[in-house]
Structures are given as C-alpha cells and as structure tokens.
Symmetry: C2
Subunit: 328 residues, 2 copies
C-alpha cells in the first residue's frame, strides 16, 4: 500500500506518520511506500524500512498536484493549510493555499482517474471554523456552515468540493472537522486558542502560563492521539456507510477552562495550578466567544470515531506521549 501525506511536516502529520510506521500498515494492508510532502522538508520516519519519498512542494502550483497524483497513492491524507490567523491577514495567500491548492489536488486526481481507473481514499482535515456564531449550545450534524473567517470559508468550500468529487466517483473523500487539539505539544505560540494548551503543558514542566479568559469559558477539545485516530479511522472505514454527506464533525470533549484546571490539579497538584497566571485579555475573550463550545456529533459517533471523555485522560495522554510518563 502506498500512502501520501500532504502537510507531513506539521504536528499532526508527524504523529500520523509515526503511527502508520508503528502499525506497519493501514486497515490490514502492509505499508510499502510512503510519500511525505510539505512546504518545509519533511523528515524521514525513524524505524521505517519501506520505500519513502520526501518532497518539498508548494501545492498551490497545479503541476505539483499532478506529479503527486501520477504516483497513484492508495490513500491520501491532505492536512496542509495555512492557519486561520494568516489566512485572515493575507486574503490572497489564504485562498491560494487553502482553496486553490486543495482544488488543484482534487482536479489532479480527477484527471488521473480519467487516464486509467483510479479511485483513492482521500482524507481531508477540515475545521470547526466552518461554523460561525450564533449557534445553538450544541451544534448538530445538520447545522449550516456560515463561517466568520476566510479560513473557515476556505475549509467549507473544500468540504463542498470533496462531497461533489466523491459523488462523481473521482475519489472516496472524507472530510473530518477536528476539535481544537489539546494538549498541543511545542512552545506557546500567538494563536488565539493557544492558551487552552499552554495552561496545561507549561505547568506540567514547571513553567508559568498565561490564562487570558475567564474560568467559565467552554470549548471543544481532543488530544493529538485522538486526532491521529480520527485520520486512521477515516482512511479505513467502509466508504458506503458515510453516504453523500462526506464531511463529519468529529467527537470531542466539551469542557470549561475551570474543568481543565481541576484535571491539572488532580494530576499535578496545587504547585502546577499556581503556575497559571490570570491576565484577562478582552481581545482574546471576544475572539473565543465566537467559537463553538459543544457539538452533538451523532454521525461520527455512529461511524465509530472516538475521542476522550475526560480532561484527566487528555492530560494523561500528553504525559505519556510527550513527557515520557513523567511530570515535573
């Protein structure tokens, strides 16, 4: 089996690669060839002895997508995107990368499938940013996509294309709307959502973290491990069970900041909680107020997608996967 990962150098891409290598295959088929693509050079996975092709490519050039489709991978994970903040700051770049880049990929597969029978599985990472306020307390599977950012608009458009290209038989597409990934490994960054991870990750290693919103702010979370599980499940599930609506809100855990902190306290004690410094930021509070807080992802649950059910579990996964099982 030949697997292509576009956006392989990102956090989720690297974890997905590691998982595929560790599993040695996907859905009972052995992994024989791996193509890893990103705008920055992807690194070769450790412990993998099969054929591997590392490519640095800009997907917003149609020829790149055509070259990738010509290698006829069995499964394609399309994770590449510029993030919300950048797509908002640079209108043209956002549409070029997040919309045109994805459409070039879809078109390249369509043209490849017209050349000789070919119908790969294509797993696309969408986002809960396709939803814009006002929304109900819990967003169900028939709620409209009315995004309030260019990033969300680009993702929502790609979702529509994915369903139509799948209906036409050009590929078997599945779009998965990821919750906010928590605990996100790495250093604090400037993303407005960063604090949801910072307030857990930093205290766990004895560092201070800033909390810019109130404790009663509610949000929708899943661990990096759950995100990789969604991708694997989307790649192996019976495509016919999904039906014509190819985009699914993934399960997750709806929790308040207070509930996050209570879980941290339980696992790492008061000394960890004391490292959270409250510094209210009205700008961040206003942005976060426009984000979904909870979902009723019945279709995804019915199809067997699974996320965490407590924040204890989310923090324990971080300690296992990122800290070698130890906390400061």
């Amino acid at each position: 089996m030949h697997i292509l990962i576009i956006g392989a150098a990102g956090m989720v891409g690297r974890k997905l690669t590691d998982r595929l290598v560790r599993d040695g295959g996907l859905g009972g088929q052995a992994l024989e060839r791996l193509t890893l693509v990103d705008v920055v050079a992807p690194t070769a996975p450790q412990g993998y002895t099969g054929e591997v092709d590392l490519r640095t490519a800009d997907l917003s050039l149609p020829a790149e997508a055509a070259a990738l489709a010509a290698t006829r991978p069995d499964v394609i994970f399309h994770l590449a995107a510029i993030v919300s903040g950048e797509a908002e700051a640079d209108f043209e770049k956002g549409y070029r990368i997040n919309l045109d880049g994805t459409r070039f990929l879809f078109e390249a597969i369509r043209l490849e499938s017209a050349r000789a029978a070919y119908r790969p599985r294509l797993v696309f990472t969408s986002s809960i940013a396709v939803f814009g306020a006002p929304f109900p307390e819990r967003i169900d599977d028939t709620f409209l996509s009315a995004p309030l950012t260019s990033y969300g608009t680009q993702k929502a458009i790609c979702e529509l294309l994915l369903s139509d290209y799948t209906r036409r038989g050009f590929f078997e597409g599945i779009g998965i709307r990821l919750p906010t990934i928590c605990v996100r490994p790495g250093k604090p960054n400037k993303a407005a959502s960063g604090f949801f991870s910072n307030i857990l990750r930093e205290p766990l290693v004895g560092e201070e973290a800033v909390l810019p919103v109130a404790d009663d702010v509610r949000h929708w979370h899943a661990s990096p491990r759950a995100a990789v599980g969604f991708l694997i499940h989307a790649a192996t599930i019976d495509s016919d069970r999904i039906g014509p609506r190819r985009n699914l809100s993934m399960p997750g855990l709806s929790a308040t900041v207070g509930e996050q902190i209570a879980a941290l306290q339980k696992l790492a004690g008061d000394k960890a909680v004391r490292l959270i410094r409250r510094a209210p930021d009205p700008t961040i509070a206003r942005i976060v107020a426009g984000w979904p807080r909870d979902f009723r992802p019945e279709r995804a649950l019915g199809l067997g997608f699974k996320a965490e059910s407590t924040f204890d579990e989310i923090i324990r996964i971080h300690i296992e996967d990122e800290l070698g099982g130890r906390i400061a």
Copy 2:
C-alpha cells in the same frame, strides 16, 4: 445610477430590465446607465432613453470581469449560470462558468475596490439546489447546504465566497435562493422541473401538457414577478440589517400538483384541466422526490421579501403578464 445585469438575456434578466426601465430607477435613485451582459446578445430595452451598453461576454474569462468592474456600476445583478442539467452533464463547464466565472467577478470587484474606494451592491441568484435530501418537511434558515448536484455545489460555494467578500468589505453582497419559477413563460423544455409550469401554461392557451408525477407531489414556487421583486428588494434593502449570513432562502408557496390543478380549474374551468395528460415517468418522479418541498424562510420574511400566497395568484400573474389578461 449605473446598473449592471449579468445574464440579462435570460427570462429573469429580461423581466428585471423591463421593471427597472418601467420604474425609471432603483431605491429612489434615477437610472442613468444600464449595462446588459450575456453570452448571447442582450436586446436593448424598449422605452429606455438613458445610456445603455449591450455586451456579449464570456464571464469565465477573467479579463471580461475586470472590464465590467472597471465601469464601476453602483448595483450588480449576477444572474448568469448554466443550468443544473448542463452542469451535471459537463463537469468542467459547470465549474468554469458557475464557479470560476462568479469568482472572477468577485475578484475583479475586489481589485477595483483596492484601486480606489468602491463598494457596489451585488445581488446574486442562488438556488434551493444548495439543499440536498434528506431534509425536514420545512427547511429553516440554519439548515446545512449539502447539495446533491454539481450545480448546487457551485451555487453553495459562491454563497460562501459572497459572504466572505462582503465581510471583508469588497462589496455588499446578497445571495437569494429562488424557488422554482412558476408559471415560467415560453415553450416546454426538457428540464425535469418543466412540468410544474407546463401543466398550467399550455392548457391556458388550449394546448395539451404532460404531467409525469402524482398529484400529491409537493414543491416550492414563486412567480416570475415575485422573483423580480426579490431582486429589486435585495438591491435596495439596508445592508446592515442582513448581518454576516448573506444568503437567504426566499419566500415562496408550497403547493401540491393537485393544488396547482385545482387553481387552474377555478380560473380556466374543466376544459383546461382536461388538457393535462397523465403520463407517469419514474425517472422524473425520482429526481423530483429529492427536491425541497417547503421552507420556513423567516429571515427573508423578516427583511420584507414577499411571494404569492395562493396558486390562483400565481396563475393570475401569468395571465396578466404573459397573456394580456386573456385566457383561451
């Protein structure tokens, strides 16, 4: 005031042009210049003495859109599209005209607005084809767009772009989802929806019409006069009242074929009804079964959009506007 109509040679485009000329303006401003564009040559409106520019143009060429935007119209009606059947039969042409053509127009306006302050009103005709089965008995304003045709996909994508370009301040966009237009003037055509009009229009002039579905088939209708009314209202309404969700399901009349026939009987008698020949067509019945039957268009109603409330009214409008007030 300078008004641009793209798709001016179509049925709705011609009726809109006539109405604007008859009114002599729009929203209290005099009509001084009219630019009429279509892929086939538009005809000059009768009785109009202002400046008129008739253009034959293919909007799927970016330079055409740039040339139109450079004339800086105050109001743009974008009605041009290839129809559902053709977009389904010719995948590439559908995306080229219905998606790329619209995006080129939006981009041309964005670039024109970057050159020097410019923010036109843009009224876009979308379609109830953005909705795909299964849906509730009545579709409300928060129901998802999950189209089951390439045409519906293209319209849904343009809706998303329209909202984002409006949010960004490049134009004041409003997308209106038209019900099926009934009674559609002209000759019977091969559209699957054609019979909804045929079974009224043909008997009213003493001609036979074929009914391919059962009398209990329910559908969503508005007259051509109501459609023009929607366009005019969309062009003049206070933009801020619409908010960030720029696409609205228009009001209409939900009626069964049996109710259509009862109205025909009331206005034109048994001899008209006897001209309806029942010839069940399972293919058409299956297509129609996937279409929306009823809506709860609360936002549009709240914003003052108005449609007919009985089929008597819809037929009377046809008799007045198309038959000079006389029936056979």
